[in-house]
């Protein structure tokens, strides 16, 4: 498998920088700083996404800012190094939240940038890791004596304060560079596992610096490769597996070393760690080829539409599962394998599943990627919800066809309009027929059956809402992702609770107050939350304004298997029923046959 080879090369390159930097991090008490540098990349990613430059530049830029601020503040006053790191970190994150929520209105694409993966490593990532290795080697060779002297000088409070010198700044820069280079491999939350944990483990058995460095480099490489191998065996995300493996090795070494002193505690840690590891290793996905055409679909709703058209002739692997949060997607080995083996790939388009591009590149896939969002009959531009003003209601069945030319601004949640789903079905049929001409007639039959069901679904929903006067079809949703549904059925989404689509977005008190005024002025009937997000904000708005709390809608994904919303049609039925109940004051639902 080529993607595993790329991952191994990345680990080997990274382990040099990780082992060297990790040793200095442990000796100088810089763990929190290294965690902070990784996590603080968020505003850099938001800026990169909003202004259109590369994510790596955003991350490195933020790392530089973080390092400079930490050094600056810790130099001037007598605040502890850990407090300085915390303050700089929360400042960066708060700036990121404000940028994402109030300046750019960032989409979901920002979130996936926070999650790197060893399974999607490209030449650029490896080049960065190689540069980090050279930087760490050269700087250790040059500055070792200085870094060491200060490390042992202030053993009680190893920190970067009290007369921070240029050497200290150099050390911070090396750590920051290493962490940022590792981000694309393991993501912000687990990067510490790759860098700090191996060095901390080696430190348990030796205090000699050179032995520590050699040992940490070797251990980082071994743990990384072991984690990657285990993740391929058990089909788990490699980043999390590497973290658990490193933690277990640390616990085992610690237990062995302290066996006589406190046997019980050591065993407790080991057993707990093993239990957690076993608990995590359960779920492997089978599904070998049986002569059927293998197809990959990115989102749950695209997977369902493809399965409807393909019938028994195709084997559909949906990459996002209903129970994974699409904003926190980290690929598993079977996902990359499925993409590599796929005869054809269907994607939703837009920043909802932008990550598929990396997976296709790194899996060595030759398959065509069909962007279902590319040729749709109905398009609206993103961010079309207006919180103020009381313009005329969109007529039933009306569409806003503008904005189609500005590809970047198209709202990617097109599937909420059954007309678009019908067009997607037609595209899926012709694409499948193209690669599998023998199945042509079967695809045609299944596609027309699906089109008929979509038509009757559309007609039923339209009939439901026709019974409600247009001036009562006014709702508030959690995110701005029901524009297509609203346009199709003459519903007006008067406002949204959360200003942007990234999970980091936060509303402002002023906007929510204005939203509550609008709800009262325009007689909005119901406020809806979303299945994949916490509902406390929409609940609060509904309670304060006294309108119906319409409960959760399926905004980004289908429901779990076993629920009524586990298929596209079922999901549309559930959403229509809930919105109908909301706008009719719980008087009537929407029965869709």
């Amino acid at each position: 498998m080529p993607f595993v080879k790329e991952g191994v090369i990345e680990i080997l390159l990274l382990s040099v920088a990780a082992g060297l930097a990790g040793t200095w991090i442990v000796l100088r008490g810089l763990s929190f700083y290294s965690h902070g540098v990784g996590t603080a990349s968020f505003p850099g990613l938001v800026l990169a996404d909003g202004l259109g430059f590369s994510a790596a530049i955003g991350a490195f830029g933020m790392a530089a800012v973080f390092t400079a601020l930490s050094a600056l503040i810790s130099r001037s006053r007598r605040t502890g190094a850990d407090s300085v790191t915390a303050l700089v970190l929360v400042t960066c994150l708060a700036a990121g939240v404000i940028l994402a929520s109030d300046v750019f209105g960032s989409g979901a694409g920002v979130d996936s940038l926070l999650f790197g993966s060893l399974l999607a490593i490209g030449p650029a990532d490896q080049l960065l890791a190689a540069i980090a290795a050279v930087v760490a080697l050269v700087s250790t060779r040059l500055f070792s004596a200085h870094w060491l002297a200060r490390g042992f000088d202030q053993e009680s409070a190893p920190s970067l304060r009290s007369g921070s010198t240029w050497f200290d700044l150099a050390l911070l820069a090396v750590v920051a560079f290493t962490v940022t280079a590792a981000l694309s491999a393991v993501g912000a939350l687990l990067v510490v596992a790759l860098i700090v944990v191996p060095a901390a483990t080696v430190r348990l058995v030796t205090r000699r610096v050179q032995t520590m460095q050699t040992g940490a480099v070797a251990l980082a490489a071994v743990e990384g490769i072991l984690g990657l191998w285990l993740s391929v065996k058990t089909d788990a995300p490699p980043g999390a597996t590497v973290a658990v493996v490193s933690g277990l090795v640390f616990a085992l070494v610690l237990a062995t070393r302290n066996l006589r002193r406190s046997r019980a505690a050591a065993f407790a840690i080991t057993v707990l760690g093993l239990a957690l590891a076993i608990a995590g290793c359960g779920d492997g996905r089978a599904g070998e080829g049986d002569g059927r055409i293998t197809v990959v679909a990115t989102t749950t709703q695209v997977a369902d539409l493809v399965a409807e058209v393909g019938g028994d002739r195709v084997e559909v692997t949906g990459i996002l599962r209903p129970n994974t949060d699409p904003h926190e997607y980290e690929p598993r080995p079977s996902d990359v394998e499925a993409v590599g083996d796929a005869a054809i790939i269907f994607r939703n388009g837009g920043d909802i599943d932008q990550w598929i591009e990396t997976l296709v590149d790194e899996s060595g896939s030759e398959a065509e990627t069909v962007d279902l969002g590319a040729g749709l009959p109905v398009r609206i531009s993103g961010g079309h919800v207006h919180r103020t003003g009381s313009g005329s209601d969109v007529p039933a069945g009306g569409t806003t066809a503008g904005g189609a030319d500005e590809a970047g601004d198209t709202d990617p949640h097109w599937w909420h309009d059954p007309v678009n789903a019908g067009a997607a079905v037609a595209t899926i049929r012709s694409s499948l027929s193209g690669i599998d001409p023998e199945g042509r007639s079967g695809y045609r039959a299944d596609a027309s059956a699906m089109s008929r069901r979509l038509n009757s679904l559309d007609a039923s929903i339209a009939r439901c809402f026709a019974a409600i006067p247009p001036n009562r079809r006014r709702i508030v949703t959690e995110h701005d992702n029901f524009g297509y549904f609203a346009d199709r059925y003459g519903i007006r989404v008067v406002g949204t609770v959360i200003p942007a689509l990234t999970t980091e977005a936060q509303p402002s008190a002023g906007d929510l107050a204005e939203l509550e005024r609008t709800i009262e002025d325009e007689n909005v009937e119901a406020v809806f939350s979303e299945t994949s997000a916490p509902d406390d904000l929409s609940h609060a708005v509904a309670t304060d304004t006294g309108v119906t709390d319409g409960g959760p809608l399926y905004g980004d994904s289908l429901g779990d298997s076993g629920t009524a919303a586990s298929s596209y049609i079922g999901m549309m039925r559930e959403n229509s029923d809930r919105i109908m109940r909301g706008v009719s004051g719980e008087m009537r639902g929407c029965e869709v046959e």
Binding site: I73, L93, A94, A200, N258, A279, A513
Partner: protein
């Protein structure tokens, strides 16, 4: 002018947010001083991630999520202290090891098809989404934390300023560290539900760090930290109301500005003192 002060108060959302930030602000003013003195900022920022595996485990066996999160975060706190002591390492290294391992384990456990989506979001609230229940829980648990801190005050003081004095005074240092980190974990568990992770980390560290610039004595430091937390909290919410900026993030920025003000004040005071001498 008067209207500008009272207008935001006519909204339940801002009113509840103000109540929650005031309560949490007072508690974190007190416990934040120990966090700063014991150099536990990393724990304050990262322990919240430790509740993730507990949350997933609770969802898988059908136990109440809050209970799972509580068990998870307390186990994390215990492991941090135990691993740190056994390894003879700084708490920072211990928390790096423990939290990444636990978080990784949580991610693996969440792969189970029985685990619902967006679990972590269920316990991480938003300042403006604070419920009356959140406020009541914060009041009860917050008072318990304050009482515990008051009872432990002398011992925390002795060990905090001279770790070697613990055994001499008959205070088991390990147990004391464990209790303190347990209290920090409890505060985080309660506060993240109302405020979210980012704001909790900021309010636990920021006010105390600012207060420490102004005074070295612990009681005045706690009072000053509480005052800074509440002032910045209120200022941030008003800024979020009038400037329409993200609420939690606005409070964080207000907290940081307070710290910078305190730093400037301390600098000025030192300079005046130097001139007089």
């Amino acid at each position: 002018m008067i209207d500008a002060i009272f207008e935001p108060l006519s909204y339940g959302i801002t009113l509840r947010a103000l109540a929650e930030i005031t309560l949490i602000g007072i508690v974190s003013g007190a416990i934040g001083c120990w966090i700063v003195l014991y150099e536990l900022s990393y724990s304050a920022e990262s322990l919240a991630h430790g509740l993730f595996p507990g949350l997933v485990a609770a969802a898988l066996i059908g136990a109440p999520l809050l209970l799972g999160g509580a068990v998870g975060i307390l186990i994390a706190a215990i492991l941090v202290v135990v691993a740190g002591r056994m390894a003879g390492e700084s708490p920072d290294t211990a928390i790096a090891v423990v939290i990444t391992s636990l978080f990784g384990a949580g991610v693996l456990m969440a792969l189970s098809p029985d685990s619902p989506a967006g679990l972590q979001g269920l316990l991480f609230g938003d300042l403006l989404g604070t419920t009356v229940t959140d406020i009541l829980v914060a009041a009860v648990i917050g008072s318990a934390v304050l009482v515990a801190l008051w009872l432990l005050h002398e011992r925390l003081l002795a060990v905090g300023f001279d770790p070697g004095s613990g055994p001499a005074l008959g205070v088991p240092v390990g147990v004391l560290n464990l209790i303190l980190l347990g209290l920090v974990a409890t505060t985080i568990l309660v506060a993240v539900q109302g405020l979210g992770n980012l704001l909790v980390a900021a309010i636990l560290v920021g006010p105390a760090a600012a207060a420490r610039l102004l005074t070295r004595r612990v009681w005045p430091m706690m009072l000053a930290a509480g005052a800074v937390a509440v002032t910045a909290g209120v200022a941030g919410i008003y800024a979020s109301y009038y400037l329409k900026t993200a609420a939690g993030a606005s409070v964080v920025i207000a907290l940081v500005l307070c710290y910078l003000l305190a730093a400037a004040a301390a600098q000025l005071r030192d300079r005046t003192a130097a001139v007089r001498h």
